[in-house]
């Protein structure tokens, strides 16, 4: 009974908070914040049920639920998760309360609307990861876009409108293509022998791989473009620095932490299983773009003058790793990609929180405005260091596990068939140390500013609430770094089956190739 509806409950629970907020006086700021925080916290607790009841040794989807929706078109309200979706849902439900707690006093205007937007956003995000019907997926995907647009556009920085529209248009362009592709896919499948129009992922998964290569190619391209913009894969990334820098802190945390993952999630969930042959055909291009993104993002990140922009560009580099891992089509790479999605959500989310905390105090994010902050904010500086080290992939912390698996996967991949990808990507590890430590040095180390004044403000160390929100993240940073099996175990089967599928196709192609050449 509970198992049937648990996904729906997790997705829609934030509505409870929305409902309460609708009847709350907008002047009562503390109450509004409390309702928002407690609702998201409760959602997290609910989602823990998924964690404990999930059976990692069972292949396929769990907590399945289906209801008729648009009968004529065979579109259903269909939910279910596998190990990857489980991890991403937990990341979402975890990061949302953390973001709210960490930015408790950052929002001063229209607090009620803001909190409602965050709650609506959470509904969309969890829905995206749980949807097993492409149409439903699309609905959630778009539904999530709208609150994000408002969060950037209303509560953002000085350039917020430009950034919000840019974010919206970029994503919309991609998602409209995806909508067309979803409809086209349903139609093409219906023309196959015994086929009907459907948007059910499980049905499509059985049919779509049989599509001719050319059709697969077009479908893949439409989906891939949409996801690539979201990730963002170089060169579709320019919306990201603007959106991140302008968004309020909690928006940045969620944007970096969860929204970017929808792109990479989309690749793994839809592109690879539905269009395996096309995925292999497109593999070289995406891998090259991924490697370019890794190096390019790191280099551009290195020379930023705004801390937040630096973190934003570093996302381009980190997500490049994830894409490279996916398209290595190895178990190591796939597992690495999945865990790296979680890692990036934690580390970069925490980095944005940290940047927000210092911005709330000094009202500047220019690196040159700081220096020697460690002297005035020792606890903050320590947490900043731990998170930075996690982000630059220090062994023993989470980032290393993902990067290592991805790089070793790319190195041995029979598909990429060259260690060059991995070698170039590995230089990203050096540059990550450069941009993070250089920034850390210029902000935190060196002599303290005269009188401890920064931008005319005497800084105070992070308070208990802020430390709690960061400590929650640090726990997972260390946990994943030391004992990643807890999390890798959940997604192991997903990776294994997917890679098996790609491997079968490659072997099949090889066999055909050999036969072909012997006949000639």
């Amino acid at each position: 009974m509970v198992a049937d509806h648990i996904l729906s409950i997790t997705i829609f629970f934030p509505f409870v908070g929305v409902l309460i907020l609708l009847f709350t006086d907008k002047e009562r700021g503390q109450l509004i914040k409390l309702v928002g925080f407690l609702t998201t916290l409760a959602t997290f607790v609910i989602s823990l049920y998924l964690y404990f009841e999930f059976e990692p040794t069972m292949p396929g989807f769990q907590f399945l639920y289906q209801a008729e929706w648009i009968q004529g078109l065979n579109i259903r309200y269909s939910l279910g998760i596998d190990g990857m979706a489980l991890l991403l849902i937990l990341l979402t439900t975890f990061l949302t309360p953390v973001a709210l707690l960490g930015t408790w006093n950052s929002i001063k205007e229209r607090l009620k609307e803001y909190t409602i937007m965050i709650l609506l956003l959470e509904v969309g995000m969890v829905g995206v990861f749980a949807a097993l019907d492409l149409f439903l997926f699309y609905i959630f995907w778009e539904a999530m876009l709208i609150p994000m647009y408002f969060i950037i556009g209303i509560w953002g920085g000085p350039e917020r409108v430009y950034a919000a529209i840019k974010f919206f248009l970029f994503t919309l362009l991609g998602s409209l293509l995806m909508l067309v592709a979803i409809i086209a896919l349903g139609y093409v499948v219906s023309t196959m022998p015994g086929g009907v129009f459907t948007t059910s992922f499980l049905d499509l998964q059985a049919m779509a791989p049989k599509l001719p290569a050319a059709v697969q190619g077009w479908m893949f391209a439409a989906f891939a473009l949409s996801f690539a913009i979201k990730v963002p894969v170089f060169p579709f990334h320019t919306w990201l620095p603007d959106a991140h820098v302008q968004a309020p802190t909690a928006g940045s945390v969620i944007l970096a932490g969860v929204l970017l993952k929808m792109g990479t999630y989309g690749f793994i969930r839809f592109c690879l299983p539905l269009f395996p042959q096309a995925s292999i055909n497109f593999m070289p291009y995406l891998s090259i773009l991924a490697v370019i993104g890794i190096v390019y993002g790191a280099l551009v990140s290195m020379v930023q003058t705004d801390i937040k922009k630096l973190v934003a560009y570093s996302s381009v580099s980190h997500l490049g790793f994830v894409v490279l891992g996916i398209f290595s089509f190895t178990e190591e790479g796939m597992q690495g990609a999945i865990i790296q999605m979680i890692n990036h959500g934690l580390s970069t989310g925490a980095l944005f929180l940290l940047v927000g905390m210092i911005y709330d105090r000094a009202h500047t994010r220019q690196i040159t405005d700081f220096g020697g902050v460690a002297k005035v904010m020792p606890v903050y500086a320590t947490l900043f260091l731990i998170v930075s080290l996690s982000s630059l992939g220090l062994p023993g912390l989470n980032g290393f596990v993902g990067e290592f698996l991805i790089l070793i996967g790319a190195f041995k991949s029979q598909f990429l068939a060259s260690p060059v990808y991995s070698a170039f990507a590995a230089t990203g590890v050096i540059f990550a140390a450069v941009y993070l430590l250089w920034m850390y040095q210029r902000v935190m180390l060196g002599p303290m500013r005269e009188g401890g004044l920064y931008h005319g403000v005497r800084l105070t160390d992070s308070n208990l609430r802020e430390n709690l929100s960061l400590a929650a993240v640090v726990v997972f940073i260390v946990w994943i770094g030391v004992y990643p099996a807890t999390f890798l175990g959940k997604s192991a089967l997903v990776s294994k089956h997917l890679v098996q599928k790609m491997e079968d196709i490659r072997r099949g192609a090889n066999v055909r190739g050999i036969i072909g050449s012997t006949i000639q």
């Binding site: 840019k166 020379v303 178990e331 002297k375 041995k412 040095q441 192991a492």
Partner: protein, 659 residues
């Protein structure tokens, strides 16, 4: 059941120390005694356990001296296929790892005790000990790991601690190579160390990947046993070992990645002694020794290792001749001595190289701690030109420092003589050595003796050259007792490796024999009989060392005007050495500045903002323009619409008629 079930405890104690001090140290930060006891005690316990295991090993058969204790799986993929990644947190005891563990915990313990005195009164006292404990933890992971990945954890972990400790006084000014004078702080040195190390680490990482694809595992036992029986094409093995060696050059400050170590002297002196002399920097040597069988499959790589080692030894020694900062001289000396160790590895004298790791840990830790006592006495003065005559005021420091200097110069029967001579002899006589390399080594030995005694004489001999405001005084007991112990070890430490030719048993070589046997077998090395030539060479290297000492004495004790004029004029070779061959400047001009410049002026501001985003915004502007144009058509003037309407009809009719 492993014969050494308590192995993980060795690693655990320092971690506990770090946890207690790191999380709660600030609560009792005024209680230096308690902090000192926790910090030193945790390492002391590790030393005790290491010693117990070592003694236990002595009583066992050679075949039983190796065991692994597995704690828990770390990074694994779960498929059933052959090349599955499966790495555990597991610690291995064997002859090599216990040797390293003893050095790390033993010398580490002494330096912890010394730090109690040295860091007295520092507001970051608790933080310092927390970092030191973390370092010992990481270093023990490095040497006790039973697989490459856990070793890499330790490898980067010690790099982190090095970063934290070099920049311990992160607001102090410090001249760093590659930065304009007076502009850099210790945090620049720290960052430089970490990043240069990362370059090497990527080599290590890629080498590790190649090991995984070649041998299907990252576990030492599996990899090495497969390597012993497999034949693998030499190109793969050369790549593999050279990548690993790139990692080693980073950690052990060899050319071309040696530039960070002299700047690492920005850290407190106990850090220089522990991390940048006795233990961490020898990690690269240990790694090559651990992978000896892999290197044995790539003789070309061995030749590179030997050449890099010899060349580094000579280059660093030559720079050491002219430096005036007491710690910088020792730093270049360390780079140079590490070069000797790599020379040994390169000529397949693995045991001799490890022997030098051991003796070097004693005398170099001693010298650094001695320099710390001097700096302490001189109120943070490090320029030896402003010292002189200190032997009167610091008798214990002087005597122990002198012992260290004699040891490193290679005068028998002090520790350095045996290990260095072993290396030189193996270089000369070994199947993979050469006379040329031997000569470089010998020449470097002469330089070593010279710069060491230059240091001794300028610091301790002659007239005082410092102002009357300074009143040098001997260091407290917590500092002098470690000095005395290390001095004792620097005298007798070499006795574990007295060669057969001097009727010694060369105990350390025999002890390590099982570890290096597969490599020696691969390389088809046969033991040499003792020949008369060995005595000749031995006499020669002692002669060279004595000549170096004699020259230094001549110049720096009796002829002040000579060295004064050399330092003042800074011409030709002297200037080249003084500026460390301009390597920092070259890297800065060729690598650092162009990368930043291109990233900033081109990639970001042109390519990203104007290029990609320009296209994006350009599209938007284009759409807006077109829409703007189209808008103008819609004038609302009905007559105009009628005209267009008629024109359209006419055109359609024309088309129908004439098509």
């Amino acid at each position: 059941m492993s014969p050494f079930p308590f192995t993980p405890l060795i690693v655990l104690f320092p971690l506990l120390g770090f946890g207690v001090l790191g999380l709660m140290g600030w609560r009792f930060k005024a209680n230096e005694k308690l902090i000192g006891i926790i910090g030193s005690g945790s390492v002391g316990l590790s030393f005790v356990f290491s010693t117990v295991i070592f003694i236990h090993m002595l009583g066992l058969d050679v075949a039983e001296r190796k065991a692994v204790v597995e704690l828990f799986p770390w990074i694994s993929t779960f498929s059933g296929t052959a090349a599955t990644l499966s790495v555990s947190v597991a610690y291995q005891i064997d002859q090599l790892s216990i040797l390293m563990a003893l050095i790390v915990t033993g010398v580490g313990f002494l330096i912890h005790v010394y730090s109690i005195g040295y860091m007295h009164g520092d507001p970051g006292f608790w933080r310092f000990f927390a970092y030191l404990n973390l370092f010992i933890f990481a270093m023990l992971n490095l040497v006790l790991a039973d697989n490459f990945l856990l070793m890499f954890l330790g490898w980067e972990g010690v790099g982190l601690c090095s970063y934290l400790l070099i920049g311990f006084w992160y607001d102090r000014k410090f001249d760093v190579g590659g930065y304009p004078p007076g502009k850099a702080t210790t945090s620049d040195a720290a960052k430089k160390a970490f990043i240069v190390n990362r370059v090497g680490d990527v080599g290590f990482l890629l080498g590790m990947f190649l090991i995984f694809t070649t041998f299907g595992s990252l576990n030492f036992e599996t990899v090495f046993s497969r390597a012993a029986v497999l034949t693998i094409d030499s190109a793969t093995m050369t790549w593999l070992t050279l990548l690993l060696f790139l990692g080693a050059t980073g950690k052990s400050a060899q050319i071309p990645l040696h530039i960070w170590l002299p700047d690492a002297m920005a850290g407190p002196t106990p850090v220089s002694a522990l991390i940048h002399a006795a233990t961490m920097v020898t990690a690269g040597v240990y790694m090559v020794a651990r992978c000896s069988v892999l290197f044995a499959m790539a003789p070309a790589a061995l030749a590179v290792v030997a050449a890099v080692g010899a060349f580094t030894a000579l280059m660093a020694a030559s720079i050491g001749l002219v430096q005036n900062d007491i710690k910088k001289v020792l730093a270049y000396s360390t780079v140079s001595q590490l070069g000797y160790m790599f020379l040994a590895m390169g000529v397949a004298a693995f045991a001799a190289g490890m022997f030098h790791v051991l003796t070097h840990a004693f005398f170099k830790a001693l010298l650094f701690l001695g320099s710390g006592a001097v700096i302490h006495a001189m109120h943070d003065e490090q320029d030896i030109q402003k010292m002189g005559g200190l032997k009167e005021h610091l008798p214990t420091t002087y005597k122990t420092f002198l012992i260290g200097a004699i040891a490193i110069a290679g005068i028998p029967p002090f520790a350095g003589f045996f290990s260095k001579d072993e290396i030189l002899w193996k270089t000369f006589s070994g199947d993979y050595g050469s006379v040329g390399l031997w000569f470089v080594g010998l020449f470097g030995a002469g330089l070593t003796a010279f710069y060491m005694f230059r240091l001794v004489y300028l610091t301790f001999d002659g007239e005082p050259r410092y102002g009357h405001d300074k009143h040098p005084h001997e260091a407290p007991k917590t500092m002098t007792v470690p000095l005395i112990i290390l001095a004792f070890l620097s005298v007798v430490g070499g006795f574990v490796g007295i060669p057969e030719s001097l009727s010694g048993g060369n105990a350390i070589e025999h002890w390590l024999e099982p570890v290096f046997a597969p490599a020696i077998l691969k390389l088809r090395i046969t033991p040499h009989a003792v020949v008369a030539l060995e005595y000749v060479l031995m006499a020669l290297s002692v002669g060279v060392a004595l000549a170096g000492i004699w020259t230094a004495r001549k110049i720096y004790v009796y002829r002040e005007e000579v060295w004064r004029s050399m330092t003042d004029r800074l011409t030709g070779l002297y200037r080249l050495l003084w500026n460390k061959y301009y390597v920092d400047e070259a890297y800065d001009a060729v690598v650092v500045r162009p990368t930043v410049k291109v990233s900033e002026s081109f990639l970001w501001k042109v390519f990203d903002v104007s290029g990609i985003d320009g296209v994006v915004n350009g599209t938007a502007t284009l759409v807006a323009r077109v829409a703007d144009g189209l808008r103008k058509i819609q004038t609302g003037v009905a007559q105009m619409y009628a005209v267009v309407f008629v024109a359209g009809i006419v055109m359609i009719l024309l088309w129908i008629v004439f098509r």
